[in-house]
Amino acid sequence: MTENPSTFTQSLDVAERLSAEELVVDLEGFEGPLDLLLTLSRTQKVDLLKISVLKLAQQYLAFIEKAKELRIELAADYLVMAAWLAYLKSRLLLPPDATDEGLSAEELAAHLAFQLERLQAMRNAAAQLMARDQKGRDFFVRGLPEKYEMVRRVTYTASLLDLMQGYARVRTRDEFRPFVMDRENVFTLEEALDKMRHLIRFAGEWTDLASYIPKEWRLDPVRRRAATAAHFAASLELAKSGHVELRQFDTFGRIELKRKTPG
């Protein structure tokens, strides 16, 4: 990066200019400005780390000029790169500005050299990778793979008891009813009465009869019906014995009850 600017034009010798022209014709073959720069850098025939970025910038700009002359449409990124390289070139040629807080021109140039070296390294790596033995080309998998099967086997079971219960179910009608089941869904009058006797002491105001039904009896329709009937019957009992008053405003309306105040 210490080259004299005046030598630049001369340094682009005939061969280079010729190759640059060939490049112009083949612009389509380039994968962007970095690829083009990498190709141009080969004319310097030095290690990428020792490359003259200034010279490379010069080459690139000359190439772009040539392309413009030939009225070849350049993609925007080629032009962006050209503008940047023109800026970098001017920065490299000027003495460093001590007040500039940004990166020095040398740092920018070094990074470009790094990018080129990294791209080249990846290309080499890609070539090495593709040169490896490959499956289906150099080595092969099993040609007759066997299926790994998941066999699902369902076995059905039934006990003698199941069988007898099944038969009993068929051979009897409503006579056969699981005894326990019924018990579960029956709320007896006695139970309701017992419960309500305790609760009505607190029923100074009119309260809905339904609110006396325990929560666990409210959800299932069968149980709710049984509990409602039991509570209704219980409330009638309590009214009869003079413990509560009952009222209902309309047919099927809610039934309310209140403790009967003595006297």
Partner: protein
């Protein structure tokens, strides 16, 4: 130059066109049999291998090498292949056994066959009060719990169903006659109140005509 030397030189010349050593040939046969999608005849192997190879001989060695291994070199028709050793075939499949309870319809159908055998499908439907699906019968046959009995000597000659020995074994019965009757079911607390009929009446027809209590299937879900 002695004649011996001459012979040696001739030998050396020949090796240029000689087949690879037999252990190399064995490797080749091994690789080919591994990678091909179909069994290979000796001829097909020889066609693939370098000139002068003897696949048949290489196969002898390869076959011996795989004796007792997890895979074996086996002859398939007049061709050769590498196959999983028969005793390890269990590794190639996983059996998942799922135990399910027999459906209510199937249990009831089975019970009717057991108590009324031989019984026709129409009779089963009469007793259950609902139609019996083809799948239920098939399932019980597949389980080998019922089988076809003799055809009924009545119009249409319908097939009958009877229970099998397998059924008796599964339920631990000596014979279908050992099935507990309704009285015993009641005694066992399985029945609450009076049934209309005994369970073991000799002919199903009678049951149906007289009893008719299986008609409404109240417990059907």
């Amino acid at each position: 130059m002695t004649p011996t030397q001459e012979n040696n030189q001739e030998g050396a010349k020949e090796t240029l066109f000689e087949a690879p050593p037999i252990n190399e040939q064995e490797r080749m046969v091994e690789a080919i049999l591994f990678a091909t999608a179909e069994p290979m005849t000796v001829k097909a192997l020889n066609d693939r291998m370098p000139f002068g190879c003897d696949a048949a001989e290489a196969l002898v060695y390869l076959r011996k090498r795989y004796e007792g291994r997890g895979v074996n070199v086996v002859k398939v028709g007049d061709a050769w292949a590498i196959r999983t050793s028969a005793d390890l075939s269990f590794l190639m499949q996983k059996e998942m056994v799922e135990t399910r309870k027999l459906s209510r319809a199937a249990i009831e159908t089975l019970a009717i066959v057991a108590y009324h055998q031989p019984v026709t499908r129409a009779e089963i439907e009469e007793i259950r009060g609902v139609s019996v699906s083809r799948g239920t019968i098939d399932q019980l046959i597949e389980l080998e719990w019922i089988r076809f009995g003799r055809r009924r000597m009545s119009p249409g000659r319908p097939v009958t169903f009877v229970v099998t020995q397998e059924f008796l074994d599964h339920f631990g019965l000596e014979s279908a006659r050992d099935l507990p009757g309704l009285k015993e079911l009641r005694a066992a607390g399985l029945l609450e109140s009076q049934p209309a009929l005994g369970p073991l009446s000799e002919t199903a027809e009678e049951d149906i005509e007289a009893g008719d209590e299986g008609q409404s299937e109240m417990f059907e879900e």
